[in-house]
């Protein structure tokens, strides 16, 4: 059984979407199930995803001009990799814009710490139980979250110098 099938079997009621494209398996789950799925992926013999390779988010505000209906605005994307079995899986967590909050995985994988800080900085999605959630790429005086689709690309907030 592939990792996707194992997760589907265990968490069938929390899965919103499942997709297989080329050699990639993707699952979209509800935010409440993230911690349980992550522990399942890390701990189960046969899966053993010991690498949290990447953690990022995508803003789907008006995606594809409205042709593709998405009920949620953000998706937090986790790429897991297992060194022993050399397989990968992508877990996407559907996050609503009214309550952008997700559980933090920094207790399970140490790499999650900085990645979650970056997602907070760029998208404004909070991570509960994160040890130190502050901006990492932008400066503290910066207002707004730049990678959201409603932030204009050249709206500068200079610390010194003319405001252009």
């Amino acid at each position: 059984m592939t990792p996707l099938q194992k997760v589907q079997e265990q968490f069938s009621k929390d899965i919103l979407e499942a997709r297989i494209f080329s050699n990639e398996e993707t699952l979209t789950i509800k935010p409440s199930a993230l911690k349980a799925v992550a522990e399942f992926l890390k701990g189960t013999p046969g899966l053993e995803f010991n690498f949290l390779m990447d953690l990022t988010a995508v803003d789907y505000l008006f995606y594809a001009g409205g042709r593709v209906q998405k009920e949620w605005r953000f998706e937090v994307v986790y790429h897991f990799f297992s060194l022993k079995f050399n397989h990968r899986i992508r877990i996407k967590v559907a996050v609503d814009e009214t309550n952008p909050q997700v559980d933090s995985l920094s207790g399970l994988w140490a790499s999650a710490n900085w990645y979650e800080r970056e997602v907070w900085d760029m998208f404004g999605i909070r991570f509960t139980d994160h040890p130190d959630l502050k901006r990492i790429l932008m400066y503290e005086e910066f207002q707004g979250h730049p990678l959201r689709k409603d932030y204009p690309v050249n709206k500068r907030q200079p610390l010194i110098g003319p405001k252009i």
Binding site: F62, M138, Y139, P146, P152, V153, N154, K155, L159, P162
Partner: protein, 199 residues
């Protein structure tokens, strides 16, 4: 005071000799200029990709040392030319200003790479569009990154400037330029977003 170099021979020679103190001070100034231009102690404020071409210019193939600029001083107090190499982001701009303020007179600034000259193609929320909005710049070396030959050309022009003792003191105010496009709006509405990405 900073002024134009007076020619040695020619019509001004008589006026030099007629006033001995002028003669000595201008010769001293020329000598100082000559000494300064062949012993450049640069502070390499290296941030990004241009740093690789700075390293190549410093290395043995293109060799900055033959111009007297081979020994970087890593303290702003001990250096006289600030080479700003690579993109300056908004987070870095106060640091650049602090380093510039710490340098002693006389000091010159070289904007190395197009990101420091005008911002390059990074017209976004986090890049300073030209460091001359923050500190006064003497020499602009465009290029992304500039070839070492470009850098040496800029260095020779810098030496000509150092010889005359001329220093740039003005910042560039982009709003003073006529015909500049309107500023970016603060509110970016959903309608504008739809119009921007198309249907």
């Amino acid at each position: 005071m900073p002024g134009k170099t007076k020619p040695w021979i020619g019509s001004n020679a008589m006026s030099r000799l007629s006033s001995p103190s002028n003669f000595f001070t201008s010769k001293l100034k020329d000598a100082l200029g000559w000494a300064r231009k062949f012993s450049i102690f640069q502070y390499p404020f290296v941030t990004a990709c241009c740093g690789m071409e700075y390293m190549s210019t410093n290395a043995s193939h293109y060799d900055q040392d033959r111009f007297g600029a081979g020994f970087p001083r890593f303290s702003p107090r001990q250096s006289d030319v600030l080479f700003v190499v690579g993109t300056i982001s908004q987070k870095m701009a106060p640091v650049l200003k602090t380093v510039y303020d710490q340098m002693c007179e006389p000091k010159w600034v070289v904007a190395f790479g197009v990101c420091t000259c005008t911002g390059g193609f990074y017209d976004n929320y986090s890049t300073v569009m030209g460091i001359d909005t923050v500190i006064p710049v003497d020499i602009y070396i465009p290029g992304c990154p500039p070839r070492p030959e470009n850098v040496i050309d800029g260095l020779i022009k810098l030496q000509a400037k150092i010889q005359t003792g001329e220093q740039s003191r003005t910042l560039y105010d982009p709003r003073a330029k006529k015909g500049r496009p309107a500023e970016v709006q603060d509110d970016y509405t959903i309608e504008q977003h739809i119009k921007h990405i198309g249907t």
